[in-house]
């Protein structure tokens, strides 16, 4: 059974600092997703990662995938307050593309 774990669960950062969120998954998965969720809101797709060594960047966020280690990272560069949200990784759970989500990382960027 596919399980997905994230750490840390909570991350308080100062503006301008860099940090990385880690996502481990337990069995082979074809795809790895990152979503952002603002309080009381829905899930916004950030990245889809398909292959080993895949790296995608959007603004201050960069996601990477290591399928051999079953590890994805979301790197935040020079954080700004607007990035405050909960970030979820999710792995593709099989033929129907059901998503198995991690526990989420609550990111709070302090001025």
């Amino acid at each position: 059974e596919l399980k997905v774990e994230q750490n840390p669960l909570f991350l308080s950062m100062q503006e301008g600092k860099n940090y990385t969120i880690y996502c481990n998954y337990s069995t082979t998965s074809d795809r790895l997703y990152w979503y952002r969720q603002d309080p009381g809101k829905s899930l916004e797709s950030l990245f889809v990662l398909l292959s080993n060594g895949a790296v995608k960047q959007e603004g201050r966020l960069m996601a990477s995938l290591d399928t051999k280690a079953r590890l994805s990272t979301l790197h935040i560069t020079a954080a700004v307050h607007d990035l405050s949200a909960t970030y979820f990784c999710a792995a593709d759970g099989g033929a129907t593309n059901k998503l198995i989500f991690g526990t989420g990382t609550l990111l709070a960027v302090q001025p």
Partner: protein
């Protein structure tokens, strides 16, 4: 930009009552999903639906739950006899295919409160 819509945004019901949560997926999408998120917890898969039938369901999706696509646009989740533990945010999602680059797009959610 096309989006997934859900109604109502908030539903309050008494334990034991039936509720129907409604979703309108993106129009050219073929795969539909329901997920739930209990307050403060992670998002959990409930069911996937394709070609007018359930393609996969989780342990959570027991006999009290059912899904339906009653017409060409709506996708519904019915809970026959609600329990306190059904209180959660329910998200509908859709994707065009299950191909390599396809992303699931999530609706805004329905917050279900069972009293």
């Amino acid at each position: 930009e096309p989006e997934v819509t859900q109604t109502p945004s908030h539903q309050v019901t008494q334990m034991g009552q039936e509720v129907i949560l409604r979703c309108v997926p993106i129009s050219n999408h073929l795969y539909f999903y329901w997920y739930r998120q209990i307050l403060g917890q992670k998002v959990e898969f409930l069911v996937s639906f394709y070609n007018n039938e359930i393609s996969e369901k989780s342990e959570i999706f027991d006999d009290q739950f059912s899904v339906e696509r009653p017409d060409g646009s709506n996708f519904t989740l019915k809970i026959r006899s609600t329990k306190l533990e059904d209180s959660a945010m329910y998200f509908c999602a859709s994707s065009e295919t299950v191909g390599a680059m396809d992303t699931q797009y999530f609706g805004p959610g329905t917050r279900l409160t069972v009293l």
